[in-house]
């Protein structure tokens, strides 16, 4: 009950914010609720809105989505990004000087060493990054992310809201064809939305809170290229419901839309995207080829939105779960691009002139308590552990070298305006081992069993788990070290009977402002796998206040207060921030860099011809 209240409040904040963004997109309807204040606040509110869109991503599978999660590069990242940006800029500069005509960009094939494995190509069934890697190129959204993570047009041509704000009319581009030749009409769009209506988090939220309850009333076909969304209460959130999110409505063929969302669709994925699915060898590789009849958007390219061009003839993803092997394959020239790997390995690539390195936005490393079971249903035990922690050791081991991590006690991303050290003194990186050990003994918990899950195939979490094993043992717990792979851990953490502590890491999308904060599952009452109980109830109060507050200074104050409370109630272990990299052949062009939504997508990339 309480949880849904805070969701509702969050939603209200989002509603206000969304108006700002839609206005900013320039394509918004004649201002539905024309409050100048909202427009004024565009800059600040714009990003948080996106955060809530991505929030579900974090809640479900934080790690797998990292690639997509990266957000607008903020100040602190610049330092790390710089070298890369420079490389890319010179590259682009040369390209501009040479004035490469479009025709000369075309051709070649791209091999990508992929980090995630693929179990299904149905993006509406799974949120696995491996699947999304490829389906973003094959299937398209009505609205996609721009470079700044705002909403931009992809299959949608325009949208307009009625005077009372209750009817939103969307028009899709004409002449778009599926890979099998079927023309795109509202038929496939509606079928996809229908399939996703209970899974796509934002779509579901908007309908539940503001929309008409029956799907066929909520989404109505007008003609082949036009449909409306009908509300009972006005909101600016409607476009976000059609945009990127978990289980996002990537428009697919009718054959796939007919499959229930809980089942994975079989057969080749068909879409309207720049690339056409070619073949899949499970456990090994999957590939796609340029779609000759692709109809690109007439809009300017901006992130994943606007004009997308497939220059490469063929793209092949090779599944290489081991990060060092991915890098080795890139060095050996067996692949042209290697997905996420730790900075440790990047050092080796820095000297290699044949390879360009690209940074990803900072990730936050964290550790979660099981708030339902002893010993960590006891705040004293949680605090004792946090105060004994050696954050730097865990970060260094996770990141690999000194330049690739930073100690950061702040719940919001360090280096942003929202950074705070409230409540950190004596709690964050305090290394009070002896004191904590005495505390645990006094609590009568010495020798109590703590089951610590260690996902050995995910380096950052694996590294932190090794440090946690030592800290837990040092303060007197009897650690049962459960070695498993990431997939198993994700399954096990859903059952609070099976564990006491585990590590994970998350991208920065929930960490750049108040709305992200509101949507941040791990700190919500009973909201995430950690089942945070918020016994004093202060957390809920503070989040409710934040949802209502519109003044920036006051928001900051509320968030600082919350952070102090976060340390007092030891909600989870904040370890710090680290930076991962990805890399590509030096002659690859078209990389924007800086952690944008399309950074690693094959569209718009091409190889410099010799």
């Amino acid at each position: 009950m309480k949880r849904s209240l805070s969701l509702k409040l969050a939603l209200l904040a989002v509603a206000a914010a969304a108006l700002g963004v839609t206005a900013a997109c320039g394509e918004a309807a004649p201002a539905v609720v024309p409050t100048p204040v909202v427009i004024d606040r565009t800059v600040i509110v714009e990003k948080p809105v996106e955060k809530i869109v991505k929030q579900t991503v974090i809640v479900e599978k934080p790690v797998e989505k990292i690639i997509q999660q990266t957000v607008v590069v903020e100040k602190p990242v610049e330092k790390i990004v710089q070298q890369t940006v420079v490389v890319i800029q010179t590259a682009t500069a040369t390209a501009v000087v040479a004035a490469v005509p479009e025709s000369q960009k075309a051709g070649g094939s791209l091999k990508i060493a992929a980090s995630g494995s693929v179990q299904s190509f149905d993006p509406n069934w799974t949120t696995a990054s491996g699947t999304h890697n490829v389906t973003y190129s094959i299937q398209e959204l009505l609205l996609a992310h721009t470079e700044q993570y705002a909403l931009g047009k992809q299959l949608a041509e325009s949208w307009i809201s009625s005077g009372d704000g209750k009817t939103w009319t969307f028009r899709i581009r004409s002449g778009v064809k599926f890979h099998d030749g079927t023309p795109l009409t509202t038929k496939q769009v509606i079928a996809t939305l229908n399939r996703q209506k209970d899974a796509a988090a934002v779509f579901k939220l908007v309908q539940a809170q503001f929309g008409t309850p029956v799907f066929t009333d909520y989404v109505k076909v007008v003609d082949d290229l036009t449909f409306t969304i009908n509300l009972k209460e006005p909101t600016g959130l409607v476009p976000f419901g059609l945009g990127p999110q978990n289980f996002q409505p990537l428009i697919q063929s009718e054959a796939w839309s007919a499959v229930p969302q809980k089942e994975t669709a079989k057969g080749d994925p068909i879409g309207t995207g720049p690339y056409k699915f070619e073949k899949w060898t499970p456990g090994d590789r999957w590939s796609m080829v340029r779609f000759a009849d692709y109809k690109a958007s007439p809009e300017k390219t901006d992130g994943a939105a606007g004009r997308q061009t497939a220059y490469l003839d063929r793209v092949e993803y090779i599944e290489i779960p081991d990060q060092t092997t991915r890098v080795a394959a890139l060095e050996a020239g067996e692949v042209d691009m290697a997905q996420e790997f730790p900075a440790d390995l990047a050092v080796r690539l820095e000297k290699n002139t044949k390879i360009q390195l690209v940074s990803m936005a900072p990730n936050r490393l964290l550790g979660h308590f099981n708030h339902l079971k002893p010993p960590f249903n006891n705040v004293e035990a949680r605090r004792a552990f946090i105060q004994a922690y050696d954050n730097e050791k865990a970060l260094l081991l996770a990141a690999g070298n000194k330049n690739s991590y930073r100690l950061c006690p702040s719940l919001m991303q360090c280096g942003t305006d929202w950074e705070s050290s409230a409540g950190a003194a004596g709690n964050y990186y305090a290394k009070k081992t002896a004191e904590s050990k005495a505390k645990i003994a006094a609590l009568g918990m010495a020798g109590m069993k703590v089951r610590l899950m260690d996902p050995t195939d995910r380096q950052p979490a694996h590294a932190a788990a090794q440090v946690s094993r030592e800290v837990l043992a040092d303060i007197g717990f009897n650690v049962e070290f459960l070695v498993m792979d990431w997939a198993t851990m994700v399954t096990r953490r859903a059952d609070p009977e099976l564990w006491e502590f585990f590590h994970t890491w998350s991208g920065s999308s929930v960490r750049t402002g108040p709305v992200g904060h509101l949507a941040f599952g791990e700190i919500q009452y009973n909201g995430w796998f950690n089942k945070y109980q918020d016994v004093p109830g202060k957390g809920r109060d503070s989040l409710t206040k934040l949802a209502k507050e519109t003044d920036v200074a006051k928001q900051k104050q509320i968030m600082d207060d919350f952070q102090a409370y976060f340390y007092e109630d030891a909600i989870f272990l904040q370890v710090g921030e680290f930076f991962s990299r990805w890399a590509a052949r030096a002659d690859m062009r078209g990389i924007v860099g800086g952690g944008g939504p399309a950074d690693q997508l094959p569209a718009n990339k091409w190889f410099q011809k010799k």
């Binding site: 060092t324 092997t325 080795a328 080796r348 590294a463 090794q466 030592e470 459960l482 070695v483």
Partner: protein, 306 residues
């Protein structure tokens, strides 16, 4: 068993003293003729003392990560360098010797004891033989590493105990088949017939006339079991099915260094070298033992899975 003269069988197994004397003379003889055995014995002795006195040799807490000192090359401070988590590879290799030899000897002991007892019993009972041997055939039909991996997957957590159980289950079947074969042959020999004719009962025949005569075979086979167990444990650990990373095993140390071939060859190189040397030592000793104790065994011993 040594002093009974009443009801003395026509053939009598050598006494314990005789056995020791024979073993001593044999050892001297073998060492003189086959210098390779000396090499094997020396290596094994070094490894065993490392395993036993390891705690006096190691200078760091090799179970704890120390990322500030990661990937340091071999030198005065760290003889074999440090690994990806900054742990001393020399210390971990020493500690790995203990784990390898402990698991090796434990599994060899368990499989040999259970295998011999079961083989003696089934070798003398046709009914049991049919039942047990079908089951043994079934177990032997699995490639043993796969069965060991599957058994480990069944057990919660991870640790030394699981590895010992899995390798014992897969190793016992082969033992039973081998010793049973010898029992069946011995059962038909003249002196067993004679003992039977003189009214000796089955347990006595088994204990006095058959068991001692399978000893040579068992000893020789035990050395090969030891060698292949050490290899199997290393393979399991390498595949991530052995002990967790903080408990060093030669297999898992090599696994941590696998991805760092280009930057830190020492992580995988040294523990692998120690592992190979140990197995080599055991095999050399086993070969010599076989040649000395029972030349006829040549070729009959099948290579157990690695």
């Amino acid at each position: 068993m040594s002093t009974t003269t009443r009801n003395a069988p026509l053939y009598m197994a050598p006494t314990f003293q005789e056995r020791v004397q024979r073993a001593y003379r044999g050892t001297v003889h073998v060492l003189r003729r086959e210098p390779t055995v000396l090499i094997g014995a020396v290596i094994l002795l070094i490894m065993a003392s490392m395993a036993i006195f390891g705690t006096f040799i190691t200078r760091t807490d090799y179970t704890r990560v120390d990322p500030i000192n990661r990937l340091i090359g071999p030198g005065v401070q760290h003889w074999f360098g440090t690994d990806t988590a900054g742990r001393d590879v020399f210390d971990r290799t020493i500690a790995g010797a203990r784990l390898s030899l402990m698991i090796g000897f434990a599994v060899t002991l368990i499989t040999t004891m259970i295998g011999t007892v079961v083989a003696l019993i089934v070798g003398y009972s046709r009914l049991l033989d049919n039942v047990v041997m079908r089951f043994v055939d079934g177990l032997l039909a699995f490639p043993s590493i796969l069965l060991a991996l599957a058994l480990i997957a069944l057990m919660p957590n991870s640790g030394i105990r699981n590895v010992i159980i899995a390798l014992s289950v897969t190793g016992t079947a082969g033992k039973i088949r081998l010793v049973r074969g010898a029992v069946l042959t011995l059962r038909e020999t003249a002196y067993v017939d004679a003992a039977r004719g003189m009214g000796a009962r089955v347990p006595r025949i088994l204990m006095v006339h058959i068991a001692p005569n399978t000893l040579n075979l068992i000893i020789v086979q035990a050395t090969f079991t030891l060698a292949s167990t050490i290899l199997a444990e290393a393979s399991l650990s390498f595949l991530g099915a052995g002990t967790p990373e903080y408990i060093p095993s030669w297999g898992n140390i090599v696994a941590t260094g696998q991805g760092y071939v280009q930057v830190a060859f020492w992580i995988s190189f040294f523990p692998g070298l120690f592992l190979t040397a140990t197995v080599l030592a055991v095999v050399l000793i086993g070969d010599a033992l076989r040649d000395y104790l029972d030349p006829k065994l040549r070729g009959r011993l099948e290579r157990s899975t690695q």
